[in-house]
Amino acid sequence: MTPAIELENVSVTLGANHLLEDVSLRILPGELVVLLGPSGSGKTSLLRAVLGFQAPETGVVRIDGEPVSAQGRILRPPEDRGVAMVFQDLALWPHLTVTGNLDFGLAARGVSRPARLERIGEMLSLVGLAERARAYPGELSGGERQRVAIARALVLEPKALLLDEPLSNLDAPLKRDLILLLSELLVERRVPSLYVTHDVREAAALGDRLAVLEAGRIVQEGSLDALRAAPVTAFVRRVMEDLP
């Protein structure tokens, strides 16, 4: 089966710092992989390499089997990769309404206006924000903003979805609700996803498969049970101990 996202021996450096070193990772269609790692481990660099904001010095990034970055070159720009992202700070455009935020990408892809409005309406209903369609991001609560960010990514029906610690700033009840919502949406739509977090509880609630990134290297990969049974580094052991 062709992976939806594939990184093959990817290395990224910034000056003398190795942000990613020889990273290989595959995400299959319909699969949700959780990337777990401490701060500064290179999680964001990996996402930026997949998105095309950063060209890897060595290695290849493939989307649906097609090389999109290779050996220091961006072969396909971010806007043409069909990969959506939920950003850590959400990155909602403050001058556009909720509808405007969702509409922007659809219009850029040439979707007709009636089709856009229909898809936006459906998506907002799915995330429970139909009543807030005309609100600006500044007028929304934290949870509502989170839902807009998720809706904005999914409305595009992307080839793959990246989520960069999207729930890191929320309180526990809200986080629980949103994890539930995300699970439903991702399972229902079978969008291959890479979910980045440093919170093992989020990882446990969401992931089919976990990959642990430390100091720019994937140090362990497998199911939650496999990682719990045989942690290979002190970090993996510590985070697994945090699980109830």
Binding site: L51, P77, A84, M85, H95, A108
Partner: protein
């Protein structure tokens, strides 16, 4: 897009500078003859000394005043800042004229000795100091308003306010202080009208005399411009080393809402000193108004104005619009560190800090040709000159605003499939509209106050108001000249008032 904007900047700003170098073989003999005498070097040293003294004096007043405005409980500090800044947006010559009506022999408080004082190097330093100090004040204040409140609060837990100011705040504003030093030095060394009016011999006047005066000798003007080129490159090197990548990013004056440092028992004395400095700088404006009213000058102004105000407004508005567009494209590229943007940013800064005679002579070399007369013989040459000299104003204003919006907003747009044009138009422009409008406004004000660049190449019969005022000063009726100066002040005040109203309306509307 970046390539087109870059090409416009290269044609406007780099060609004139390169043309001077290209003219070298043709003018070598003249250059050796002119620069082989002691006089030009004496004038250059004199200009540099004048610029150095004005710069030191401006820093001495501007740095403390910037600190007072940004971070203390000085009463009415916003009003004080506005009043302090206003004279900077006027041609310095207008202020010199005002001081003439205060301290000149027939002035308000004038005597033989005050007149002697005014018409001297000291008088030129006084006028230019009052005009350019607001540059230091404002850059320092803006930098301090951008300092992370946490840094200051952490220091205030363990140190006195004075120690916090001197050890934390002022060092944090160091790039702004270096930039202020460069700008005041560059503006002073370019200044032509104030020293000429006050009978102080300076280098730019020697260049001007060979282009527009009875000593007409364009070859010699080229030769005289040459020593200023290395000076400009030196200033640029200092700017790139200490300032270049750092941008003073503040969103309006939100930092003013922070808990200010109390002045304590010093408050009355400091308030008096600060207000005195600011009010003294506005004295010549009131005296000009009074002089213009007394001799019927105001009544005669319309007759003497001719096309000058519309020349100023039209060339300024077109140039400011081009600068705003360039500033948007290049400012965005510079803020996001797109390849090539840093060089274009450096070029725009070079054109600004290059002494005006170099740019002026270079523009003449490029555009004073038979087939370019549609540009050189019309207001278009003013637009080209203004774009060359003031592009940096738009570029830096926009880039400082763009730097305040997270890069992720644009990246999010890219991940939705939006191309570069769509991202710029739909995401970057609406979010940086405030910066683009501010860039337009600043650029327009700089164009409308410009004399030192335009006076070298303005098209015959299409002179801007500043040039009209400067050329009439020698033989026009004093009341009318004062009236024209008042017209320039009124024009600037109206533009600033409209700009302030536009921003206030936008705030209210949002």
């Amino acid at each position: 897009m970046l390539a087109v904007a870059g090409a416009v900047l290269l044609v406007a700003a780099l060609l004139p500078i390169l043309s001077l170098v290209a003219e070298l073989p043709a003018t070598a003999r003249t250059a050796i003859a002119v620069l082989g005498t002691a006089r030009p070097w004496e004038l250059l040293l004199r200009s540099m000394a004048l610029a150095a003294l004005v710069t030191v004096a401006s820093l001495a007043a501007g740095v403390p005043l910037g600190l007072l405005i940004a971070r203390t409980d000085l009463p009415f500090r916003r009003l004080l800042w506005g009043l302090h800044l206003f004279p900077f947006f006027l041609p310095p010559f207008v202020l010199a004229l005002g001081w003439f009506h205060v301290l000149g022999r027939t002035g308000l408080v004038g005597t033989e000795s005050t007149s002697r004082l005014l018409f001297s190097g000291g008088g030129a330093i006084w006028v230019l100091w009052l005009t350019f100090t607001p540059v230091c004040t404002s850059l320092v204040a803006i930098a301090l308003l951008g300092v992370d409140a946490g840094l200051e609060e952490a220091a205030r837990l363990v140190a006195s306010p004075v120690r916090v100011a001197t050890r934390i705040l002022i060092p944090a504003a160091r790039p702004a202080i270096v930039l202020a030093t460069l700008l005041v030095f560059a503006l002073t060394i370019s200044e032509l009208a104030v020293p000429m009016f006050l009978r102080v011999q300076v280098f730019p006047a020697a260049v001007f005399a060979r282009l527009g005066g009875i000593d007409y000798a364009p070859g010699e003007a080229f030769a005289l411009a040459l020593p200023l080129l290395p000076l400009a490159l030196l200033l640029l090197a200092v700017e790139r080393r200490f300032v270049g990548p750092r941008v003073f990013a503040v969103a309006g004056l939100r930092g003013m809402a922070r808990e200010p440092i109390p002045l304590g028992t010093w408050r009355p004395l400091v308030t008096l000193a600060a207000w005195l400095l600011v009010l003294i700088a506005t004295v010549p404006l009131w005296v000009l108004l009074s002089r213009a009213s007394r001799g019927g000058g105001l009544m005669q102004v319309p007759r003497w104005l001719g096309q000058a105000p519309s020349n100023s407004l039209l060339s300024g508005a077109i140039a400011a619009t081009v600068i705003a567009v360039l500033g948007f494209v290049l400012g965005h590229a510079a803020a996001r560190r797109i390849r090539g943007a840093s060089s274009l940013d450096a070029l725009s800064m070079l054109a600004f800090i290059t002494p005006a005679p170099v740019l002026g002579v270079g523009l003449i070399a490029v555009w004073n040709r038979g087939w370019t007369q549609p540009v050189y013989g019309t207001l278009a040459i003013l637009v080209v000159g203004f774009v060359a000299r003031y592009a940096v104003v738009g570029l830096r204003t926009v880039s400082s605003v763009i730097l305040q919006s997270p890069r992720a907003l644009e990246e999010a747009a890219a991940t939705t499939g939006a191309g570069a044009w769509r991202r710029l138009a739909r995401i970057v422009l609406p979010m940086s509209a405030r910066g683009v409008v501010a860039g337009w406004l600043f650029a327009f004000l700089f164009c409308v106050r410009d004399l030192e660049t335009a006076v070298l190449f303005y098209p015959a019969g299409r002179e801007p108001l500043t040039v009209r005022l400067f050329t009439l000063e020698a033989n026009g009726p004093p009341a009318v000249v004062a009236g024209l100066a008042v017209a320039q002040v009124a024009l600037t005040a109206a533009v600033l008032a409209l700009g302030a109203a536009a921003f206030a309306w936008r705030r209210a509307w949002r």
